[in-house]
């Protein structure tokens, strides 16, 4: 967060890669997104986001795991890097800190 800005969608995709723990690639990430958040996005969006995350250093990738159902083509499998996991933790920490600062009745009074 301090060094590189992480957008909301990027954050979700990064979390998905973390959840899939080494099994994350284009297809699985798209499916997990749909399954867990209900968001249906184009494949290109996911593809671009993964590339951008890699450029920012939050994930790394390698080619591998060719299967017959994809015509023998390899997958690009993503893993969260140390930088990525620290970024996720920092976001989490920041949110928690912010929640702590919330006056007790604010949200309830606001009708949320």
């Amino acid at each position: 967060m301090r060094r590189t800005y992480l957008g909301e969608f990027e954050e979700v995709v990064l979390l998905m890669v973390a959840i899939l723990d080494g099994e994350g690639y284009g297809v699985t990430v798209s499916q997990a997104l749909e399954e867990h958040t209900g968001r249906i996005v184009t494949f290109g969006t996911v593809h671009n986001t993964l590339i951008r995350l890699e450029e920012k250093g939050f994930v790394r990738s390698e080619l591998g795991g060719a299967t017959t159902e994809r015509g023998g083509r390899r997958k690009r499998l993503f893993r969260v890097t140390a930088l990525g996991s620290r970024a996720l933790q920092e976001i989490q920490q920041l949110r928690q800190d912010l929640w702590q600062l919330l006056p007790p009745n604010t949200l309830r009074l606001g009708g949320v």
Binding site: F43, G44, E55, R70, R74
Partner: protein, 882 residues
């Protein structure tokens, strides 16, 4: 998964074509997998639709490209070490192929230099008269007049009362109205320093109108009658380093005037150049009594009028107001031409002074501007394309370098910037060289073109244009290696599998080079033919029989002789070096005036009675050596000869008389009276040697302003001139002995044509030079590409001669095609150009033949260097090299 069940083939094809290569594999796989997933979940139609949508989402411009070689991110291609490396490699490449580098850079520099010279010349033409700061508000008063139903434009000279009328009745339209003389020659003297100088007599507003830059004194210096302004040069000649202000100078040995100012010499590109003094207009009246009669005479049109319009007026407005100003004052016979006065703006004087039917048409100077402009563009284009071609051809040798650079980690952007910076460097070197060349060529160019052109060192637009052009050339030349070579796969180039793209790419590269060669040689051959014809035309005119003898004939004006002509004549003859001394109204090589109003027996109304008229002394004929067809020369012995005439052959033809001698001619305007024709002489070429001789009449009546001296042919000029000068000084000590040789004056008549000839041959030789460079490049390129073929042929028994022929014949064919295109083009333009001259040569076939042969020989020499080199190479070497 079988085909019918798979994703739509078109979408898949689109994906493989357009998706970035480096992520294609995984994306293809992912989409296949997703398709199967959608197919299972939502059926085929849904799957197809979603597949399509998602394919589009990974096509450019939506898709994000992976940055290759991420670890290179911080190794910027602009790192100083890398730049040093690029420079080093660029330098080594140049140094490795010295001949080629010299040809390449030299060729571009020469092309640029030619273009720059022409550009500067055109700039000079277009900025003519801009030395005068009121350039945009100054005009000359001119007239349209109707003659024989045609509207003719002229009237650079106006009557004096027109100027007076403009000053009094239309004063609010003008800031200045200045009456002036045409340039006139007078002796300007101070003590022993005396010089025959050209200058003008102008009204007091002139220095302001011309915005003279005063070195000393002020622009208000012409308000008194006996004053004069001098140029810096003339002041220096007269007074040396002393202060010229308030010194007295003598004009024409008669009038003493005071110097009230010194102005900076006017530049060559001013209409007023060579005006070395300006004196008050009224002073001209005191020197010439006839001006008194012209004061109120609307029919005597002898003086240019220059005006500067008032600040809030336009030329159109003022022209409209003064349009009819002359008409009410004219006598009936002069009013018939309905003169229509208008202002001709200074900005149009130089290039837009040709009129037809009262409207501007393309003038001769403008034609030259266009002509040279086109040539300059062509030469530049040739040089530029050549440079690109040679660079490209050479850069293919560097495919291996690209391979190695890529193998050790260069990214494409780095290679691109390397090649581009290299070609920028080379074209900058060429540009520097071009500046040097132009600087060196300018003195010669200025002499030939009669200009004072300098490089515009401080003009930002000049630099902007040059730099833009240089960068453009550099980009053009560097783009092929920068963008094509850098995209090659290192594995292929290092294995040696690389060839210039596909075979079709190679053929189109060769074809475009061939077209270029044809183009270049077309221009070169056309220029050669043009140059040769210009010289042929000049030679023809030079060899034209002139009808008199120019040798040892000198002339000088009779300014300041004060009636001592006869004394001088006797004294000069007494020295023994002068064979004859005569007088004439005009120098021999000047056609002088013409007049109408002659009548003779048998004259019909349709006959023209416009004759050249020259007043001479009786000895004129002996001095110039004219040749009689019939009759006899004037003689001092017969008093009645004063009413005699001698006419030339053309005049006799115009009059339509078979035996002219003894016929009577009545003259109404010129030397009023009746004359008898005494003799007929052969036509003498006095005016332009390119035109027909004007029918001319000679009489011994009236005043003559020039003296002619024929030097005794037995005496050499070296001994004759000092003797003549000594006699001259003794008789008329106040007059400088300023003489001109008739043959030199006559030679000056060829100046314009010789200028065209010199410039054309200059451009032609450069065009040939540049074309040969292109040819040389192409030949070496082809020979290199065919090294192996030649090797194999030699191994199989081909002789060097066969191989030389194999490599050369193609170029011969190209030159022949070029010749076929150039011939009709050149013929068309040349016959048009020659039509301009009344006395002209025809375009001769042998010029075409010679030009063709010459070009062919040069071509063969150029190509043979390469082809013989290739043919003599040991085949073992060429076949072994892998």
């Amino acid at each position: 998964m079988n085909v019918s069940n798979g994703p739509p083939r078109f979408a898949h094809w689109l994906l493989t074509r357009l998706h970035p290569n480096d992520t294609l594999e995984e994306v293809e796989g992912d989409l296949d997998e997703l398709y199967t997933y959608w197919h299972e979940r939502a059926g085929r139609t849904q799957a197809t639709l979603r597949y399509l949508l998602n394919v589009v989402s990974v096509l450019p411009p939506f898709v994000r490209r992976r940055k290759r070689e991420l670890y290179h991110q911080n190794a910027s291609s602009l790192h100083p070490i890398m730049i040093r490396n690029y420079l080093k490699i660029a330098w080594r490449n140049l140094a490795k192929n010295k001949v080629y580098s010299a040809i390449n850079i030299g060729g571009l520099a020469v092309g640029m230099a030619v273009a720059m010279l022409i550009g500067l010349w055109i700039y000079d033409e277009l900025t003519f008269n801009q030395y005068h700061q009121n350039y945009s508000r100054v005009a000359q008063v001119m007239r349209h007049e109707w003659f024989d139903g045609r509207k003719e434009t002229g009237g650079q000279s106006s009557p004096i009362p027109l100027g007076t009328e403009l000053q009094t009745a239309f004063g609010d339209e003008f800031s200045y109205v200045v009456l002036s003389t045409k340039p006139v020659n007078y002796i300007i003297a101070s003590g022993d320093a005396k010089f025959n100088q050209s200058g003008r007599f102008m009204e007091a507003g002139a220095p302001e109108l011309l915005t003279l830059r005063m070195v000393q004194g002020s622009r208000a210096g012409l308000h008194e009658l006996n004053t004069i302004l001098l140029t810096e040069t003339l002041a220096k000649k007269l007074f040396g380093d002393e202060n010229p202000i308030n010194r007295i100078v003598t004009i024409d040995t008669q009038v003493n005037v005071k110097v009230t100012g010194v102005y900076e010499d006017l530049p060559t590109n001013s209409e007023f150049r060579g005006t070395s003094y300006i004196a008050p207009f009224d002073l001209y009246g005191s020197l010439n009594t006839w001006v008194k009669d012209a004061r109120d005479n609307w029919g005597d049109k002898s003086f240019p009028i220059y005006v500067q319009i008032a600040p809030n007026k336009t030329f159109e407005q003022v022209s409209a107001r003064i349009k009819g100003v002359m008409l009410p004052h004219l006598k009936a016979e002069n009013a018939a031409s309905k003169p229509e006065v208008f202002l001709h703006p200074m900005s149009n004087w130089h290039l837009f002074s040709a009129f037809e039917n009262g409207a501007n048409v393309t003038s001769e100077p403008m034609k030259y501007v266009l002509f040279y402009g086109v040539i300059g563009l062509f030469v530049l284009l040739l040089a530029c394309i050549n440079f690109t071609n040679l660079s490209t051809a050479r850069s293919e040798k560097r495919a291996k370098e690209v391979g190695i650079r890529k193998a050790i980690g260069s990214v494409r952007a780095q290679l691109t910037s390397q090649f581009l910076s290299e070609s920028v460097l080379v074209s900058m070197v060429a540009f520097g060289l071009c500046l040097v060349l132009v600087q060196l060529a300018l003195p010669w160019f200025n002499r030939v073109a009669d200009k004072q052109i300098v490089i515009l060192w401080v003009n930002p637009i000049f630099w902007l244009a040059c730099i833009t052009f240089t960068l453009f050339t550099a980009l053009l030349a560097g783009s092929y290696p920068a963008f094509y070579l850098s995209s090659l796969q290192p594995v292929k180039t290092l294995k040696g599998l690389y060839s210039s793209g596909s075979p079709s790419g190679w053929h189109s590269a060769i074809a475009s080079r061939k077209i270029l060669v044809v183009f270049q040689f077309t221009i070169s051959i056309a220029l050669i033919i043009g140059t040769a014809s210009v010289y042929q035309q000049i030679q023809l005119a030079k060899n034209r029989p002139v009808g008199y003898d120019r040798k040892g004939l000198l002339s000088f004006p009779k300014n300041g002789f004060l009636g001592k002509e006869n004394v001088l004549r006797d004294e000069l003859l007494r020295t023994g070096v002068a064979a004859e001394v005569a007088e004439s109204a005009y120098p021999l090589t000047n056609e002088g005036s013409n007049n109408t109003g002659f009548d003779w027996r048998g004259k019909t109304p349709t006959m023209s009675d416009d004759f050249g008229t020259i007043r001479i002394s009786a000895e004129y004929g002996k001095a110039v050596g004219w040749q009689f067809i019939a009759g006899r020369d004037f003689s001092r012995r017969f008093r009645s000869d004063s009413s005699g005439l001698i006419i030339n052959e053309s005049a006799m033809k115009v009059m339509g008389i078979q035996h002219a001698v003894g016929e009577q001619v009545r003259s109404e305007h010129w030397q009023k009276g009746t004359f008898t024709i005494l003799g007929v002489v052969k036509d003498m070429v006095m005016a332009s040697p390119f035109e027909r001789v004007r029918p001319t009449i000679f009489s011994i009546q009236g005043t003559k302003r020039w003296m002619l001296v024929k030097i005794n042919p037995q005496v050499s000029l070296h001994t004759a001139l000092p003797k003549l000068e000594a006699t001259f000084k003794a008789v008329v000590p106040d007059v400088p002995f300023d003489y001109k040789f008739a043959d030199e004056e006559y030679a000056l008549k060829f100046t314009a044509e010789e200028r065209i000839g010199k410039l054309a041959s200059f451009f032609a030789s450069l065009a040939i030079f540049i074309s040969c460079l292109g040819l040389f490049g192409l030949a070496s390129f082809m020979a290199e590409r065919r090294t192996k073929e030649i090797g194999v042929r030699k191994v199989l028994g081909a002789s060097a001669l066969t191989i030389w022929r194999l490599l050369s014949q193609e170029f011969v064919l190209l030159v022949l095609i070029a010749f076929a295109i150039a011939t009709p083009t050149a013929y068309y333009f040349l016959s048009n150009w020659l039509q301009k001259y009344e006395y002209h040569t025809n375009v001769s076939w042998w010029i075409f033949a010679m030009s063709g042969m010459g070009t062919l020989i040069i071509t063969l020499l150029t190509v043979s260097y390469q082809s013989i080199k290739a043919a003599l190479v040991n085949p073992v070497k060429s076949l072994r090299s892998e």
